[in-house]
Symmetry: C2
Amino acid sequence: MAAERPGAVVLLSGGLDSATSAAVARSEGYRLYALSFDYGQRHRKELEAAGETARKLQCVEHLVLSLELGRIGGSALTSRAIEVPKGRIPSEGGPSEIPVTYVPARNTIFLSYALAWAEVLRICDIFAGMNALDYSGYPDCRPEYVAAFEQMANLATRMTTEGGKRLYIRTPLIQLTKAQIILLGRSLGVDFASTWSCYNPDAEGKPCGDCDSCILRERGFTEAGLSDPLRPLPGRGGG
Amino acid sequence: MAAERPGAVVLLSGGLDSATSAAVARSEGYRLYALSFDYGQRHRKELEAAGETARKLQCVEHLVLSLELGRIGGSALTSRAIEVPKGRIPSEGGPSEIPVTYVPARNTIFLSYALAWAEVLRICDIFAGMNALDYSGYPDCRPEYVAAFEQMANLATRMTTEGGKRLYIRTPLIQLTKAQIILLGRSLGVDFASTWSCYNPDAEGKPCGDCDSCILRERGFTEAGLSDPLRPLPGRGGG
């Protein structure tokens, strides 16, 4: 009997970045264990897309965990626990205001669950779709953050401290542009029709085209010279 | 008006370690935001004890979050996703077998939520009751793990990367024996009658006295020369 291929935990959000990151893992021969989170996203489209992507990538298992992130708050306007900050410090480079869609420590929480599952499965590789270029304002999308999480993870589990294994947080997209991600995904056979990016789908369940996430996605497809199957434009090849 | 005292997020499990850790924070003048987790513990006693301790320490808020840790598994006997490990590697010093009560990456997940809440509250100090001596087999109770988590945390949030603040993971008990923790707690006025340690309370809701956690607790009280208010012994002073 041939040796079994190693497994990888892949974080799947339903978006095209994480689908492409998971496709990279698959292309390297890993058996995929997909992990998604239901944390009060505004609509179900994202999780449905994650499920479709998990099926298309033939994941061994797709675990969807419910998290109560909404109860932690994150906006001074919606949570009674938060004091409105006094001296705002403008950011350099990134957006000057934290967007309402920003969830504090989200990637740390997501990666922590991935770490727990990896330890249970005795898996050494965790794939995540973080990208430093399109989200330059998000500290937990930068390579130095990922490296620090990896270092912590290698001190956190029995698998590494007693079992002699080493954990890797793999972020194959971290230095790519959205257009490069789309081209990489296409080369690996990602079905972009099964990915979802929009924050505000319309009444018919179609992407709005106006939110930050739609705009980033459209710009990526345009720069890649491709048409988004979710929002086909005349005269361009399919993604 | 006097400057407002700084806040601290304190992890409260219901046990005497985390109660003492939180009492240290209170003694240093912090306003306390207590955080507990309902992750399928076998009984409600722990969370009830955490609630009582939060009230006695006059916490500003006590947030109890539900986590689906059980769905991640952690035992080869209960989860279909896990392969029974082949070459077991015995641990040095610590117990040679992972106890069934061990939850993979638990402290990483707990600290990640604490980090998220700290960022929302703009709080720089997180107190946790980890202890390296009594749990020498647990990698995520060691000082080097805590230091690595702290380093990662300082790269993970906007508060630190843009706001110029520094996050501290405070583990005041990490090098203490159980007896030292009990004596420290007593000096800070911790009401040990409002803490809970037993994994298997009897039908009347009393500590079993036989589980690992009861044995550690009893040994600690004995070495401290005190009587556990939950299991009073004749001829000893109250804790």
